[in-house]
């Protein structure tokens, strides 16, 4: 930054006002900088100008024709008028032309009241129309997907939504079809729109052409109270507006935050509020009496929990364990850590409920090692087992922008990622062979393919598209290399080896290794001490300890281990081995169903507080709505328990653990042994997905529709061998369990590897696998006869 040369300035006159702006600015920007409004439709300040709508025409002295202010660079001595008679006439013409085929159905249009077309027609329009012909008549509305609804009559063809997909998201979700007056926006091949960012297209639509099924006809802008808050779904921590009407959140919108999400949001965030108002929220404490969970008063429930905690303490220290943290605020996490560590007196705390013991997740602190802003200035990005658009979509927007400026993307994964067409190199191999692939990549100048001796002789197909030398050279060419290590790789076999290799790779090029791990407020839980203390067990250790009878009481808050633990059986046996389970929950989750006491809690949009995002930034939450019934904040529950147990919970007692430095611990260092023997012919790999049907996402309208049915991805070659047809139901059977899911035959996965997406409550894919040994072989059988009706 310091080396940046001072930019030359130009001075021009706009409407008689002298303005000095940096060279390179457009007349539109210069006018705006001095408070002069020039009407626009197609221009959006996050995209290059297009000059299509012609609304921003201005008169420039000595130029024969009117000029579009959005495309014209301001130059020295320019004299511009935005209000001359010629400009006014042009503005009236353009607005008249935009309105001749517009249905003018403002009274029933969602955009009414916040509509640029409405506002500008009022301010710059001709007042009346000379149009007496028949307006353009189109079938409407048409659904372009489970969420996106298009009204082609309202569309003024500003091309913003199309260009958002081309320029910002890089997903080409919407395109222009037909020509001239028949032009329309649509999806490629008229298929369902494929995007994880379509909420942004809706937001930047300057008319009511693109609307969301979840918000259509729900409210008028003037009836809404926007609450500034933070989205805590994926961990990026996007700033949002929660639009509230009548005590219900009706809409989520991006709130501008240049350091984090700029003005964008992913669709999980866009649609991720519905669960708050779900009808099946828990409103009263539940206590297991006579084998059944029954409603109880807070007094009864807390009394019971306090008694059990007291009794356990009398039997000795460390006989209580705590799991969870993802859905807690920083304040909740701090209170929980203080309560259990300092007052209950146990070191057995861990928020990393979804981490397997052999993976890399437990050996390193999670999060980015740079700010998102710095990440966005990288020149080489290496995604190692990180499916960026499925896990941290808004981070992708920064990477995409960097690629457009010349940065290069290298993908190392077992899956053909959606963003692969933006990649410079792609190294693909099965999940169980990613670690050796990264090791080979880390060996400087390595030009030989990864050693696959330990799986030699198997029928498993060889690595695809391996061009290791090219990838290594690309990475070496970077000056600001960012390696993002994702859960898919970290939870695979040989985690510690993988971590060391990834670290070595980043070090070799003086780059930054990011641990792209953690959802919700996992980073806040990590920071505020929900980690094993001195002599404490980690999450898998707690589960194993519970199974072995080491604990009197297991306390769960801000997590649903019954579905989150990657080894379903480990949770089952843990539950069986512990006498008493207390759960904070908003819903009757699988964990809550197995609990002895369930305490109803507020969810994040109902709480004031803070969360910590992936980069360690503290972000503010504001309670947008009140919670249901007697639900309380987690922190309040710990306060009440402290009081009841005559503890005093002081502020700041929890140890803060900052995620700086890459401390690779020896956890799970016994790798190597697990990979002996023969790798199975067809393995199952569990992957993350943005659209899921979890306890929260499954209760969000739109989001659960986008998630669709639980499914697995199977390569066409394997599908043919197993007689599996696309979209048919299949049974996936491992030596541990079997589940029935929909099969999607796709070369997104590799031969020899079935990918199952987690996050569908009710489909226990985590029962298929065990923590070890990995990889796990799977058999796949069609359930319905080919061609038969599924379900």
């Amino acid at each position: 930054m310091a080396a940046e040369a001072p930019r030359a300035a130009v001075t021009l006159v706009i409407d008689g006002r002298e303005v000095t702006v940096p060279k390179g600015m457009t007349v539109y920007q210069a006018a705006r900088s001095t408070g002069i409004d020039i009407p626009i439709f197609c221009y959006h300040d996050r995209m290059p100008p297009l000059g299509a709508c012609r609304m921003c025409l201005v008169e420039v002295h000595k130029m024969p024709k009117l000029q579009t202010a959005c495309t014209l660079e301001a130059s020295e001595g320019m004299v511009v008028s935005t209000t001359s008679p010629a400009v006014r006439a042009a503005q009236e013409s353009i607005l008249e032309l935009l309105l001749i085929n517009h249905p003018l159905d403002c009274p029933i249009c969602d955009k009414g009241g916040e509509c640029p077309l409405q506002d500008q027609a009022f301010r710059y329009g001709p007042g009346r129309s000379r149009f007496i012909e028949v307006k353009r008549d189109r079938a409407k509305p048409i659904a372009l997907g489970p969420v996106l609804v298009l009204d082609r009559e309202r569309c003024i063809l500003c091309w913003r939504c199309v260009r958002f997909g081309e320029i910002i998201a890089g997903d080409d979700a919407l395109k222009g079809f037909e020509r001239g007056f028949a032009s329309e926006v649509g999806t490629p091949r008229a298929l369902t729109v494929e995007s994880k960012f379509i909420g942004n297209a809706i937001s930047i639509c300057p008319v009511g052409a693109l609307t969301s099924r979840t918000y259509r006809f729900k409210a008028r802008p003037w009836d809404i109270e926007p609450v500034a808050s933070t989205c805590a779904h994926c961990g990026v921590g996007c700033s949002i507006w929660l639009d509230v009407r009548g005590g219900e959140i009706l809409r989520t919108r991006a709130r501008e935050e240049p350091e984090v999400n700029d003005v964008w949001l992913c669709d999980r965030g866009f649609l991720g509020h519905g669960y708050v108002a779900a009808e099946d929220r828990l409103t009263n404490p539940l206590v297991r009496w006579e084998g059944r969970l029954q409603e109880a008063s807070w007094d009864e429930a807390l009394g019971l929990v306090a008694d059990r905690l007291r009794a356990s303490r009398e039997r000795g220290p460390g006989r209580v364990a705590f799991l969870g943290g993802r859905r807690l605020t920083n304040e909740d996490a701090s209170a929980a850590a203080g309560f259990f560590r300092d007052l209950v007196g146990t070191p057995h705390l861990d928020h990393r409920v979804d981490s397997p013991p052999d993976g890399a997740s437990l050996g390193v602190s999670w999060g980015l090692r740079s700010s998102l802003d710095e990440l966005g200035r990288g020149d080489v990005f290496v995604l190692v087992g990180c499916d960026i658009t499925e896990e941290y979509p808004v981070v992708w927007l920064r990477i995409k922008a960097a690629i457009d400026r010349g940065a290069r993307l290298v993908i190392v994964h077992a899956k053909r990622l959606e963003v692969r067409r933006h990649a410079h190199c792609e190294l693909l191999d099965r999940q169980d062979r990613i670690a050796p692939l990264v090791a080979a990549l880390a060996a400087a100048g390595a030009a030989t393919p990864p050693e696959s001796g330990d799986v030699a002789g198997l029928a498993a197909p060889p690595a695809e598209s391996v061009d290791l030398a090219a990838a290594a050279a690309t990475i070496a060419s970077g000056e600001r290399v960012h390696v993002l290590l994702g859960r898919f790789a970290m939870d695979g076999p040989d985690g510690p080896d993988l971590l060391r290799s990834a670290d070595a790779l980043a070090r070799r090029v003086n780059g930054t290794l990011h641990i792209a791990r953690g959802q919700g407020n996992d980073l806040g839980a990590q920071r505020f001490g929900l980690l094993p203390g001195e002599g404490g067990m980690d999450a898998p250790g707690i589960l194993r300890g519970a199974a072995a009878g080491a604990f009197d009481l297991l306390y769960v808050a801000g997590s649903d281990p019954a579905t989150a633990v990657t080894d379903g059986a480990a949770w089952q046996s843990a539950r069986r081995g512990v006498g008493f389970v207390v759960v904070h929950e908003a819903f009757l989750s699988a964990t809550a169903l197995a609990a002895d006491v369930v305490l109803p809690v507020l969810v994040l949009p109902e709480k004031d507080g803070t969360v910590t995002n992936l980069e360690g930034r503290t972000l503010t939450l504001r309670a947008a709505v009140k919670g249901p019934g007697q639900a309380r904040a987690d922190r309040e529950i710990f306060d009440l328990l402290s009081a009841r147990m005559r503890f005093v919970l002081g502020p700041g007692t929890a140890a803060r653990i900052e995620p700086d430095g890459l401390a690779i611990s020896g956890a799970g260092a016994h790798s190597g042994d697990v990979r002996e023997g023969t790798a199975p012919f067809l393995i199952v790999a569990v992957a993350d997905r943005l659209f899921t049907q979890g306890s929260m996402t499954g209760r969000c309208r739109g989001l659960s529709d986008l998630a669709g049915t639980a499914h697995c991805l199977i390569h066409p070659a394997d599908a043919a061998r197993a007689g599996v047809t696309d979209l048919g139901l299949v049974e996936l059977a491992t030596e541990h369990a079997s589940v029935v899911v929909q099969a999607r035959v796709s070369d997104v996965t590799l031969p020899g590897q079935v990918i199952v997406h987690r996050g569908y409550d009710g489909v226990p894919v985590h029962a298929l696998v065990r923590w070890s040994p990995v990889p796990v072989g799977v058999e796949i059988r069609p359930v319905a006869p080919p061609g038969g009706e599924p379900q």
């Binding site: 299509a52 012609r54 025409l57 085929n101 012909e133 003024i156 001239g180 007056f181």
Partner: protein, 421 residues
């Protein structure tokens, strides 16, 4: 073709009219590829540009930009440069490029080679109109023959130059004939014109310096080098006119720049069809404002036509006789623009559709007297507000027709009113 004998020596059409010019042996026997060989092996780029400058050659696609000047805009030092041939001949009434390619595809290949070696482009794309199936077959065959002779590919004519030529069929959009829309289409996107600057010469195809040149323009190059610029200029310089409509012999005619409209119609094209009188003519395709009987002696060159309020454009002369109703003629022209507007900018997309609706109403006997002022009003709103010349082409002709043939509009409206609505 009795009149042809009286014509001066033809510089371009002689290649087209001669037999067997699709075959490289025949073309070479007639002196073909000598000019390209000289450009590749003897002449420096500066010498070629000098000759083209001296010839006064201007682009034949419609805009009439001086060719040599365009070449000088291409940065010499740029590592990657392209030549893109605009063969998307779509302007109504224009068929000279098709005639050239079908008659003598090697002339275009030779022109391409001269342009490519002069600006230093190794790759050439010929964006050919989709419907030109015969052109495509002949051109691809000619390129293959030239490759076989060592004129296309690596080290052409034994020089250090390498030139690859790719023929790319368009997808059927008039707007793709606009050079920046053509580049968009060539890159695989929807054909919509780009914002200029940057101009293609700075950042064109794939953001690299690109010379976009019309087919006929390139076909003039071997002639200029072959005859020398002085002799070439003495021939007019020659221009290919596509004459169509109500004449006895529609066709492509080579005539010196500045030939009168009268001469083109009444000498070259054999005059009006029997029993018919001249009424109007578009001198440069439908995009140009038509001329009427009082303009018959106007000289067909850019400056004279500009003074007459119109333009030479693609030199496509569409002749209208007294049997035609000008309201119908204009309605047809407006429908063309409505159908071919790319949809990018508001005034063109909406304005052409609106005007077409009004014309349809008038033609169906539902015109109103105030429609004429409305048409003028819409035309005024489109003037100077459109993104590219397509939309801007509509108002001048429309306004001229309202001025010069207002009685025909009024008659239509009156007849409609008399028949009741």
């Amino acid at each position: 073709m009795a009149t042809e004998a009286a014509m001066p020596e033809s510089a371009l059409l002689r290649w087209v009219r001669a037999e067997g010019m699709a075959e490289i042996e025949q073309y070479r026997r007639a002196g073909g590829y000598d000019a390209a060989r000289r450009a590749a092996t003897e002449l420096t780029p500066d010498q070629v540009i000098e000759m083209v400058t001296a010839s006064g050659l201007r682009g034949k696609g419609g805009a009439g930009f001086p060719t040599a000047q365009k070449w000088k805009f291409i940065p010499r030092a740029a590592p990657v440069k392209y030549v893109v041939v605009n063969g998307d001949e779509g302007e109504p009434g224009t068929f000279k490029d098709r005639t050239l390619i079908e008659g003598c595809p090697h002339l275009l290949v030779e022109g391409i080679l001269i342009a490519a070696v002069t600006i230093g482009a190794r790759k050439v794309y010929v964006y050919l109109r989709r419907e030109f199936y015969r052109c495509r077959r002949l051109l691809e065959a000619a390129i293959a023959q030239a490759r076989g002779a060592g004129f296309v590919g690596e080290r052409i004519f034994g020089s250090d130059h390498a030139v690859e030529i790719v023929v790319h069929p368009g997808a059927g959009a008039y707007i793709a004939g606009e050079e920046t829309a053509l580049l968009e289409s060539l890159e695989g996107r929807r054909a919509m014109p780009r914002q200029r600057p940057p101009f293609p010469a700075q950042a064109g195809l794939y953001q690299q310096p690109t010379l976009v040149q019309n087919v006929e323009t390139l076909c003039h190059l071997p002639v200029i080098i072959g005859l020398g610029p002085e002799r070439y200029k003495e021939l007019g310089p020659p221009v290919l006119f596509s004459v169509s409509g109500a004449v006895v012999r529609p066709g492509v005619y080579e005539a010196p720049l500045g030939v009168t409209l009268r001469s083109l119609i009444f000498e070259h094209a054999g005059g009006m069809r029997p029993g018919r009188r001249f009424k109007a003519a578009f001198p440069g395709g439908v995009s140009s404002v038509f001329l009427t009987e009082t303009d018959l002696d106007v000289k067909m060159d850019p400056d004279s036509l500009r003074q007459a309020g119109t333009m030479l454009g693609s030199a496509a002369v569409i002749v209208v006789d007294d049997s035609a109703d000008m309201v119908e003629v204009m309605a047809r022209a407006v429908e063309f623009y409505r159908d071919e507007s790319c949809g990018k900018c508001t005034p063109c997309r909406e304005g052409t559709a609106w005007i077409a609706q009004i014309f349809e109403r008038i033609l169906h006997g539902h015109g109103r007297t105030e429609d004429l002022a409305l048409l003028e009003g819409i035309a005024a709103g489109m003037t100077g507000t459109c993104f590219c010349p397509l939309g801007e082409s509509v108002p001048p002709g429309l306004v001229a027709s309202l001025r010069l043939f207002r009685d025909e509009y009024e008659r239509r409206i009156a007849v409609g009113a008399a028949h009741g609505r």
